[in-house]
Symmetry: D2
Subunit: 265 residues, 4 copies
Amino acid sequence: MWLRTVCDLTFDIEVPTPFILMLRLRSGAQQWVAREEYKLKPSIPVFEFTDNYGNLCQRLTAPVGVFAVYTHADIWVADQVDQAPGDPFIEIQYLPDTVLSYLLPSRYCESDRFGQMASDITAGQLLGYDQAKAIESWLRANISYQPGSSNIPMSAVEVNTKQSGVCRDLSHLGIALCRSLSIPARLVVGYLYGLVPMDLHAWFEVFVGGRWYTFDATQPELRGGYVAIGYGRDAADVAIYNQFGPPVHSTQQFIDVQLINENDL
Amino acid sequence: MWLRTVCDLTFDIEVPTPFILMLRLRSGAQQWVAREEYKLKPSIPVFEFTDNYGNLCQRLTAPVGVFAVYTHADIWVADQVDQAPGDPFIEIQYLPDTVLSYLLPSRYCESDRFGQMASDITAGQLLGYDQAKAIESWLRANISYQPGSSNIPMSAVEVNTKQSGVCRDLSHLGIALCRSLSIPARLVVGYLYGLVPMDLHAWFEVFVGGRWYTFDATQPELRGGYVAIGYGRDAADVAIYNQFGPPVHSTQQFIDVQLINENDL
Amino acid sequence: MWLRTVCDLTFDIEVPTPFILMLRLRSGAQQWVAREEYKLKPSIPVFEFTDNYGNLCQRLTAPVGVFAVYTHADIWVADQVDQAPGDPFIEIQYLPDTVLSYLLPSRYCESDRFGQMASDITAGQLLGYDQAKAIESWLRANISYQPGSSNIPMSAVEVNTKQSGVCRDLSHLGIALCRSLSIPARLVVGYLYGLVPMDLHAWFEVFVGGRWYTFDATQPELRGGYVAIGYGRDAADVAIYNQFGPPVHSTQQFIDVQLINENDL
Amino acid sequence: MWLRTVCDLTFDIEVPTPFILMLRLRSGAQQWVAREEYKLKPSIPVFEFTDNYGNLCQRLTAPVGVFAVYTHADIWVADQVDQAPGDPFIEIQYLPDTVLSYLLPSRYCESDRFGQMASDITAGQLLGYDQAKAIESWLRANISYQPGSSNIPMSAVEVNTKQSGVCRDLSHLGIALCRSLSIPARLVVGYLYGLVPMDLHAWFEVFVGGRWYTFDATQPELRGGYVAIGYGRDAADVAIYNQFGPPVHSTQQFIDVQLINENDL
């Protein structure tokens, strides 16, 4: 399907403030960017670089006053994300080098604390895809998805205690559970067509059977329409913006995803 | 200045043909991509990756029939490229690691063969920027720039023998001469506003005084309006398309660069 | 000075167990590996790769039984680590790309929680090296260094609550404090000549004035004799071994650092 | 088998001379470095970095006078290199990203000039391993291997004209032929146990069936005992030393490879 995504951010800047933004979509396995806009008001110098996870990041210093970022994209994504019941667990010695860092504990995914719990949740499952699926089902049944309930990311331990969270929080717990079974897992931040209420979204991917697969415990079932913006070990790696110095929050944030016709590109 | 660039390619494909394209502009030091389009007709799956030189590359298999690629961008670039007479040569031991591969001979830049000639051309110059400037001046005076005169890249040795060439060929010789003086040099492929006749363009950059500077022996003097598409050691690394299997050439190629107003973005 | 380092580990393996080891020393800015041994008993296949932080990592599956790893090195390191009072803070927009990930919160360094505390500790200091030095002094005065007191890494928040910790824990808090001031900071794991009691050691580095500098709150003052094994954002990235599956601990661990004469190499 | 390799180089330096050395062995797929020495006389500062191809490189400035480099290693390598008749050609769209640069022409492998010749040599062969094997056989039958006959690398075109060359030259032609069939190929520089006369050696690897395989037209048949030092597109990328400034040649070079017993490590 073809989608048109919008993420517009407005900031009220009181002192010149360094930012690292991550809002340049990249094409990938099931995603092709046919048109993209990225405008800044006022127009200021920007440096773009690729981070350790392959994300394009934009570095700039926002000047005092109203500072606005407009990003729009026309993008093709799969009508239905790939699923693969039965796809096998890959032994650590056969994992690609680039995947190994997704096995380790990270800021919000304390996978070193979830070994027993993950074993219990996945008891009786085939090793691999089916374990991740059991974890996603468990999250859906046991952790309450409450969009908009928090601004600060919760770690897996915190989510597991509170038994509720936003999309990012549920993903953190899912990731920690998978990693504790030696299944590589990573956070994805992006858009989801049809998300209610519309907002930026986060989900997780696990590496089984030789590739990454999408999981999302916030939706009743997996479908298509996922648009990835960035990948990382958890929300610490993959923020659409990091700002340094005195805290600045967006005064306005407009997110939208519309279905478009290929002919309208 | 704000520019609108166009590169449209049409191919007549007889057997399914793998391509690696390099037509996704990236933002960089003096370049910001505010709007970009990249369309394929027919619309087919593409995989995008980043190569060793930081270029975004698109991999696809073109199907039989007419295959067309449309790329447009609105982009800010400097009104005047930076110049730095007197900027010093950087001793090899202080060069950044990532720059070192631009010291070595490459497919079309046999820098191992130009030591004496480079010394002669740059005799009496301050080490660094001024040496590169002397090489650019020498090329302008001694190698005839004949746009459109060849399709196959010539190596520095061949250009030096023939005493003429296209933009890419002159750059190969400039690069080989700089490298033979232990000055890192690389090829840039892209657009130049105001180029006559309009076409894709190639120039070279040298690393002195801690950063890369632009040089171009095809133009009477350096100005602004340079839009980089890709970087590499020479034309072997940085082709806007590489095609595998039986040779296929573009049946049509339309290149354009227009000045636009920021308000028209 | 020339040092001979030893790290020998013995494991009692009950089921075949995947390991990622990080015990291959690398040469670096103030460190040259002149001789190195890395033996496994039994001798089994190993795959070596370079991680995101530039560390050489060894991947293997330890077979059932006693499994031993012997690593010895003869290495030159600086007699005195470089110090640079007054070296300036580097504005975010001028930091090298590769340094930026060391600004973000990580598993054990919740830099997002220490802004006020870091400002208080460094009040009145010149921005840059002197801030980091003030943080190191504060740690030395306020957090009790208790070698051998824990096996599980503590996060900066936990260390700050408990007011004591091992070398790694103090470093986590130092790193979190520096990052909260927008100063890049990273954990180093390695050896320290003259450490009492002898053990593996951890310290931290901060990036000011264009390069990394060493800090260590566990010692009364900075001296030489630091041998780096690996770098990372915190202890989650830089463990001398990560083991997957049922927990396995080393049954024996022998660490030694001796001064040697260059002629004995 | 366990081997002990030696590469000792002596230079007579007249002006301080920057070098990039590539003499630190790395462990890899069929290779484990158990012991390694790397000594410089006089002992001077060195910076080590990893290049684009994953090789460890050492940067230094040799002082005036006699400058010597001693490198010894004890290393396990396969008794017999893997061979895989029938292993299939991998379509370009399924090749790993990191392999793609080995498809392009490079300094000494003008693969853009050998399409017809490669088709002729491999006519009737299964696509993949068997094509590379046919090329290796053709080289063995048609290009005369003359160890020690040249110091300056010859390009594939030059070798094909001269019909003779050293190990590196034969490999260049083999690589160019493979690449012209869209088979990724790379140069390996290293040691070969039992090579007569003993010297540094070069061979090539091709990527078929999802991994790299060894080929060597200089030997009557493939066996084991290959020790890789470095990988690259051709001899321009993978020199055991590159020296900058006035030419300096090693006044002495001692190379040795001995079989050792694992107990002698």
